[in-house]
Structure formats: structure tokens, C-alpha cells
Symmetry: C2
Subunit: 362 residues, 2 copies
């Protein structure tokens, strides 16, 4: 393990854990020290497995006498009951008991499914997140939100289930396809407007380095993103309030993902475009000025993310958004920017949302 690895602590009492960020982590026994020594099951997908599984198995061999592997098909379209059931089938066929530790080796889809499987298998087994995409390292692997999709909505079936540890190996990003890399930048950018104007400045100044996968820039982006997320999650683990701000851009984004069919746009692409719309909504509510909304749209565009949403029709968008979990019965709640670095949840009239949709779709 590279001695320059860093740790970000998520402070949740008995459920506290570390996010370990650094180079060359997966293949080293030291990374896995302190985890339960019973059997391990690694859940990965057919893309990540061939690239990283061998290193991972070598790394955890010192901790676990036995490690088995489940390889799922790749992509958001497979974040469903069928993949979950494949995990349950395998665990039961192998006779895995409550002491088995699951490892999620992959992106957000693998992490979400594995974390949810760990929540439900025999009413709960421990698990570890090993995010291999930028999006998973800066967002989805951190904070214990796990879920599968339902045909009627994203992440509708799930659990709050904290991992024992998150291991974010920056070297895993080297093999990430360009499109996935760019999608991950959406969740990095998000932390600027909702929590940290200085970080937004830094992102604007280092976007080219990030896109070129400069390891120093990536290390900073992952660490700062995790710090912000850790602070929010520690204050509101179960999303009773504050945590909702992490969904900036997600109400629009989820509607795009569900409306097009899961996997057509990547989650990060939908969130990038969703942030442009949510920033515009914030400006129309006169919370931020137009220049700030344009600034957010510009950094999204510079990252290479889409800024125009598909033409699903305004009515369909409104229907999809009402289904989204943030839409309380009868009222449409949106995460908006009150000022750069501060987000809030507001109930917004359909008319105004329709104006935003009209301006950014098609």
C-alpha cells in the first residue's frame, strides 16, 4: 500500500467507518486489515472482474481463508431484483452464514445491489465497498444508501446499510471508460454548489487535469467529495432532512433515467443535466442570479456532460418526478441552491418546473 493513502472518517456512532483513498490499495493485505476473518464473497460485474479481481483476491487472501466470486452483468439495467436474487441463490447454495462478508467490487450499480443484498441476507451480513468508478468513489459507495430499481422508479426498494469500510483505489480509475469518467465528474461538481464554493473554484481550475486523470487532482477531488458527503451523512444518516441536498439535480436526473429506460443515459450524465435544470430553477425562484446558474451549466458542459434533456414531454416529466421518492404526496419538492455553497429543499409549483423543462429539453 502506498504510504500516501488518506482516510476520511464517517462518524455514525457504532456504525462509524473509514473511507480509505489512495493508490495501489486493492492488491495489498494491509488495506484489508481489521476486517472479519470469516468467509468472503466478492460481488463484481463482467467488466470490472477481468480487470481487478485477481489483484483483489491476492489482497484479501491474507484476511480470508476462503473467497468466492459472483459476477453480475454490467449496467444500470441490471440493478434489479433478478441480480439481487442471483446473489441470494449463490450465497444459499454455498451455505454462507451470517458471518460472511460481502465485498462490492465495481461501480454504483454493484455497490448498491451488494449493499442491499447484505442488508437482507439472513437479515443482515457485513459488507465492504470497493468502488472502482469515479462516481462510486465520490458518492454512491459512501453513506450507506443501498437499493435496486423498480420499473416505476429509481432506487425505490432499498435500505440504509452502512459498510464496514470503503476502499477507493485511484488506480482503478485508469481503466475506466471515458464516458464513465465524465459521468463521475457530475457528482464531484455537485459538491461545489451545494456545500463549498471554494471547491467549485478548484474544480473549474482543475477540470482538464481531472479529465486527463491526473492522480493528484483525482486524489483531491475524491477526498474533498468524501469529506463533504461524510459531514452531511453524519448529521442526517437516514435522510430526514439535510441529506436530501445531496440529491441536487437528481429529481430531474432520475426522471431522465426512468423515462428513457435504465442505462440509456448513465446516472452521472442524467445528474449533470439535472443540475443545469435545478440551477435554472433556483434562478427562476430568485435564490441565485442568472450568472450563477450559467456558471454551473458551464462547468457541467466543460466536463463533457449533457446539458439538454431528452424530449419526453413536460407532462411525462412531471409524472416521473412525482413518482420520485422526494415528491411527497401532492407537493413537488426540489433541491435548490439558495446561494453558492448552500442548498435547501423547497416545494415548487408545477408551472415553474414546466418552464424549466421547456427551456432545457428536446
Amino acid at each position: 500500500m502506498n504510504s500516501s493513502s488518506q482516510r476520511v472518517r464517517i462518524d455514525l456512532g457504532a456504525r462509524s467507518y473509514d473511507i480509505v483513498i489512495g493508490r495501489d490499495l486493492i492488491g495489498h493485505a494491509e488495506t484489508w486489515k481489521g476486517l472479519p476473518r470469516d468467509d468472503a464473497v466478492i460481488v463484481t460485474n463482467t467488466t470490472v472482474g477481468p480487470l481487478l479481481l485477481e489483484r483483489m483476491l491476492a489482497g484479501i487472501a491474507a484476511v480470508h481463508r476462503q473467497a468466492r466470486v459472483i459476477e453480475l452483468p454490467d449496467g444500470e439495467a441490471h440493478k434489479d431484483w433478478s441480480s439481487l436474487d442471483r446473489i441470494f441463490d449463490a450465497l444459499l447454495e454455498w451455505g454462507c452464514d451470517r458471518k460472511t462478508t460481502l465485498y462490492a467490487l465495481g461501480g454504483g450499480v454493484v455497490g448498491d445491489i451488494t449493499g442491499f443484498a447484505a442488508a437482507c441476507y439472513m437479515r443482515g451480513v457485513p459488507y465492504v465497498q470497493v468502488p472502482t468508478t469515479l462516481l462510486a468513489q465520490v458518492d454512491s459507495s459512501v453513506g450507506g444508501k443501498t437499493a435496486i430499481n423498480h420499473p416505476l422508479g429509481k432506487n425505490m426498494i432499498g435500505a440504509f446499510n452502512q459498510p464496514l469500510r470503503v476502499v477507493a483505489d485511484l488506480d482503478a480509475l485508469a481503466s475506466l471508460p471515458e464516458r464513465e469518467m465524465i459521468a463521475g465528474l457530475a457528482e464531484v461538481i455537485k459538491y461545489g454548489p451545494i456545500a463549498d464554493p471554494e471547491f467549485l473554484n478548484w474544480i473549474e481550475g482543475n477540470l482538464d487535469a481531472l479529465k486527463a486523470r491526473d492522480l493528484g487532482a483525482l486524489a483531491h477531488a475524491v477526498r474533498r467529495s468524501c469529506e463533504i458527503k461524510a459531514s452531511v451523512v453524519a448529521q442526517d444518516e437516514r435522510e430526514a432532512g439535510l441529506r436530501e441536498i445531496l440529491n441536487f439535480g437528481h429529481t430531474f436526473g432520475h426522471a431522465i433515467e426512468t423515462g428513457l429506460g435504465y442505462g440509456t443515459w448513465l446516472h452521472g450524465e442524467a445528474v449533470g443535466c439535472g443540475m443545469v435544470m435545478a440551477a435554472d430553477l433556483s434562478a427562476r425562484l430568485r435564490l441565485i442570479d442568472q450568472a450563477t446558474a450559467v456558471r454551473i451549466a458551464r462547468v457541467v458542459a466543460r466536463a463533457g456532460l449533457p446539458t439538454r434533456a431528452p424530449a419526453l414531454g413536460v407532462e411525462r416529466y412531471l409524472e416521473l418526478m412525482r413518482l420520485d421518492k422526494k415528491a411527497r404526496a401532492g407537493a413537488m419538492r426540489h433541491v435548490v441552491i439558495e446561494s453558492l455553497g448552500r442548498a435547501a429543499v423547497r416545494t415548487v409549483e408545477d408551472d415553474l418546473v414546466a418552464q424549466v423543462l421547456g427551456a432545457h429539453t428536446g
Copy 2:
């Protein structure tokens, strides 16, 4: 509401709640006071619904502006993903949000599925248990264990998820089929050997009154069972140790249920027979004398429960038991009686279990 209703408290810190036991509870607004006022969804089955739904809807009308109903097919064979998914489909089609309260109106199957659905829907919504069978009133509705079955094992996919309240209306037992009534007695009897010799004396003296559904006898049986269960659960909510004693007879019982196919024997029937075998095992381990094992077998038989297990073959039984969640890798753990009123978990050699199986099957 009858003024003679009683409350048993389950003490779990922020997750504490009451079990309300009495006559004529379901139809009265007072029973439901203090529960969240947002929308309600009642999950029931095609047997219980026609008998109790109207009364229940009248009772909760004062609390909830809107109450919808999901009717599942009846029986253990339907405690599966397909029933769970029907609940999710309905909730999403109705646009139910995180503030929706689910009510489980039915026996153990409805309670287990609904409690698990509440754990997963949008990562958690509140729910209330309204057990209508003796088995559910004395055992399954209390303590927050929820699950569905997997073809390879009982209750393998689930969650610890405490309800907001348990409402045990003794009048619901009047319409219970005889076979279900007897099955419920198995879980009542269980509390004697594992926790309370005096309660076992009482059961032996009042078994005829219980079978005749004498309301005074039922009230005492339900209250004392809930008190014992509440005390155990408060000490070990997530079954790290002590709580396992509540599974006395269940390792043998689950093997019968899974081996025959869910629903062939009722859960209580399998547990009754399983307790006879577990008592014999305890005697063979020289923890209790033969007379005590015979005494337990006799009360099970007098209740009208089966005391001989189906002939699945010793090897098949051992295989099924190893799959059961209590069988840690490589070792077979059984709940045994150390002395009347005190249970413990012991690792037992296959040979001895095989002797018990040989003596009680076929």
C-alpha cells in the same frame, strides 16, 4: 375499546413500542390514536380481509384521511418475492411516499411480508402489526423480525424492522380455523420450557380452555407470551445471542417446512414437532431427564400438534438444517433446554441429531 385491554412494552430505546392486547380493538378509533396521520395501506390476505377489513377501515378512519388495501393470497407458499413485489407495485402505482404507514392485518405470513416491505419501500416506511392468528399474536408480530422465504430456506431474506405498535385483538381469534388455532399453541407452549416453568404448569392446566378459546385463558396466554418475548428481544434485538432461544424447535421445524414445501405443514405444527425433537436432543445431551422431555412431548400432543416428523430421510434433514440460518459454517447449532425454564444454544454432533431424527420421523 374494551377498558380491560392491556399493554406490554417492548423496550428498545428510540424503537420502543407497545403491544396492545384486548377484545374489540380493531374497530375502535381509540386503538389507533397516536399513529402517524398520513395515508395508510392495509396489507391483508383473501381469508382475513373479508372477515375483518370492514371493521379495521372503520377503526382507522378517524386517524387516516385515506386508507387503501392490498389483498395477498393466503398461505406460507406465498411468503415470497412475488407477494412482496405486488406490494411494491401497488405502493408505487398509488404514488405512496415515505410517510405512508403500512398495516399488516393477518397472520405471520402477512406480518412478515408487510414488515419486510416496510423495511425496503423507499428505504423504510412505518408499519403497524395487527396479528389475527394466535401464532402471530404470541410470537411473529412481536420483535421486528421480518422476512420472506427462499426456495432454499425459510426466512432467508429479511430485515430487523420494529413496528410502531402491535394490536392483538382477541376477538379476531374467534374466526380462526381449528388447525391454525392449534398451530398457534405451539409457540405458546414454547415459552414454558425456554423461560418459565410456572407458565408451563399454567398451560398444562388450561390447555382445554385455550383450545375452547376461552377469552380469559387466551388473554393470559397472549400477555404472558408477549411479556417473555419482549424481555428477550429487549436484551438482544438483532439475535446476537440470547434471542436465539426463541427458536427452540425451529431448526427441526424449518427443515420440515422447507423439506415438504412451504405450507404443507403449518409453521406452528412444524415447531410443535420440532420441540419434541429438540427436547429429546436435550435429554440425550443429559441436560434434562427423560421425564422432562416426555412432559414436553405430552403437552405438544395434547394440544393436537404432530409429534412425528415426515420421513424425509436423515441425510436430507441434516442438509436442510445446515442451510438453516442457525447452522454456522461447519458446526450445527441447536437450541436446547438446560433445565426447565432455561434454554441455551449448543453445538451438537451430527450423530446425535441423526439419532433424534431416527427416533421421531416416519
